[in-house]
Amino acid sequence: MIGILALQGDYDEHKEVLDSLHANNMLVKTPEDLEKVKGLIMPGGESTVQGMLLEETGLANAIFKRAKKGMPIFATCAGAILLANKVIGGEKWLRLVDMTIERNAYGRQYESFNEDISIENIGVVHGAFIRAPIIKKTKAKVLATFKDNPVVIQQDSILVTTFHPEICDEKHVHEYFVKMVK
C-alpha cells in the first residue's frame, strides 16, 4: 500500500497515476493513516501551508520516524522543500534530505515551464516546473540535472523531483517509486 500525503496540493493527480499503474494506494491525512502504508508520496502545492499542517496533524513527527526506519518517500516540488535540511527563502520542516533548496528559484509563475528531463535508471520524462525550487547543493545521488542544477535526486530510499511528472501524463517516475516500495 502506497500512501499519498493529502493535506493540500495536487494529491488527486498523484493518485490518478498510481491508479493507472494498478498500485494500491490511499490518502494519508493522519498519523494513523501513515501506519497503514509502506511508502509515501509527498505532492506539490504550497510548502508553507503543507508544512504548517504537517506539524499540526502530528504527521511531521510520524513521517520523520518512519523515514528514519527506511520508509520510501517520493516527493515532488513542495514535497522536496519539506524534506530539505536547508531552505533558502522559507522555513525548514522535516530535514530528512541533505540538500540546500531555494524556493521559487526560477521566479514567479511567469517563469514556470515544462521540459523533457533525462533521468538515470528511469529514462526521459516530461515534467512541469511550476514556481519550482532549485537544489543548490546536495550530498544525495543526482539522477538528473537541468541547466547544471540537480532536478532529480535520491538519498537512500527517498526520491525527490523539483518538477511535476504527475500533471504531464507521465508514469515512469511513479513506476520506479512503486518498485522502490516493493
Partner: protein, 284 residues
C-alpha cells in the same frame, strides 16, 4: 496549458484569501492561505462604495507581491484585456477576470489563450464554465454572490454544475453534439467532461463564504478549494477566522473537528439577503 493548469492544481485543497494591504497578506500567509488575491477593496466594500470598480493600483499589488512568498492573484474587469495585460506585465501569478469589478465588455470575455499568465473565471453552471475554459481559463470558480457573506448563491451554482455534469455523463454522442451547440463550445469539451465525470478544470468555490462551515459545505459539494473574499478581514477576529477556514478545508468531512474549529471565533462578517441587493454581480 500544462503550466497554466499546473499552478491551479497546486492550489487545490487550499484557501485563497482577499487582502487589501501587505499586512493583511502576511496574516493570510501565516494562517495558511495557498494564495492571496490583492485588491483595493474587498467585495463588500465595493458594494458599499458604489461607482465603477476597476483593476487595483499596480503599486499596491506590487507591494503585496514583494511581501509574501505564496502566489499573488489580482482582478481585471470582464473583457478588459488591457487591464489583464498590465497585470501580466506586473507578473502576478494569476488573473481573476472577475464580475466583482464593473464589466468593461458586456458581450465578450478576454481571449485568455493570448496570455502567459493563467486566468480564473466565475461560472454559475456547466455551460458558462466550459465557455470560459474554451476561451483559455485555467481555473473556474463559482460566482456565488460576492460581498454578501451569504453562501446561498455559491451553493446554487455548485449544485447546478453538479447536476449539469450528471446529465452529461449519461448522454449519447448525438445529445452531446446538440448540447455543445446550445452551450456554444466544441463538443470535445463535453466529451472530456463526460469521460472525467467532473469539470475539466480545477473548480473552486467563491462568493459569500463567511465561516468554516461554509467552506466545508462547499468542499462537501465537490469543490477543489475555496476563495474567501470579505469573509476574513470583515470578521471580528481575522487571524482566527483565516486559520479556522484553512483547517475547515482540510477537515471538511469531519464534523467533530469542524465543531472544534468553529468554536470561539467571535462574529463572522455581517451577511446580506440576496433579494434586496441593488447589484447582483453574478449576472455580469
Amino acid at each position: 496549458m500544462v503550466v497554466k493548469e499546473g499552478l491551479a492544481k497546486m492550489l487545490k485543497h487550499g484557501v485563497i484569501m482577499d487582502v487589501v494591504t501587505a499586512d493583511q497578506a502576511k496574516v493570510a500567509e501565516k494562517a495558511g492561505a495557498v494564495a492571496v488575491m490583492a485588491l483595493e477593496r474587498v467585495p463588500s466594500d465595493i458594494r458599499a462604495h458604489g461607482g465603477v470598480a476597476r483593476m487595483s493600483d499596480p503599486e499596491m499589488i506590487t507591494q503585496i507581491m514583494e511581501t509574501v512568498s505564496i502566489p499573488v492573484m489580482a482582478k481585471s474587469r470582464i473583457g478588459h484585456h488591457v487591464e489583464a495585460q498590465i497585470l501580466e506585465a506586473l507578473k502576478v501569478d494569476f488573473v481573476d477576470e472577475s464580475e466583482v469589478l464593473t464589466p468593461a465588455d458586456e458581450h465578450a470575455h478576454v481571449d485568455k489563450t493570448q496570455f502567459t499568465v493563467p486566468f480564473v473565471c466565475g461560472a454559475r453552471d456547466l455551460g458558462e464554465a466550459l465557455r470560459r475554459i474554451n476561451e483559455g481559463a485555467a481555473m473556474i470558480r463559482t460566482k456565488g454572490e460576492a460581498g454578501t457573506g451569504n453562501v446561498v448563491e455559491a451553493v446554487r451554482h455548485m449544485k447546478t454544475m453538479n447536476a449539469d455534469i450528471d446529465k452529461v455523463v449519461h448522454m449519447s454522442k448525438a445529445q452531446l453534439e446538440k448540447l455543445a451547440k446550445e452551450y456554444k463550445v466544441p463538443v470535445q469539451l463535453l466529451e472530456k467532461t463526460q469521460k472525467l465525470g467532473r469539470l475539466p478544470a480545477v473548480n473552486f468555490a467563491a462568493g459569500g463564504i463567511a465561516t468554516p462551515a461554509d467552506a466545508a459545505l462547499m468542499m462537501q459539494l465537490g469543490c477543489d478549494g475555496v476563495f474567501v473574499g470579505s469573509g476574513i478581514f470583515k470578521s471580528q477576529h481575522p487571524e482566527k477566522m483565516a486559520t479556522a477556514i484553512v483547517h475547515a478545508v482540510l477537515y471538511y468531512n469531519n464534523p467533530e473537528k469542524l465543531a472544534a474549529i468553529s468554536a470561539g471565533l467571535k462574529e463572522p462578517m455581517k451577511g446580506l439577503e440576496i433579494p434586496g441587493l441593488e447589484i447582483k454581480m453574478q449576472e455580469r
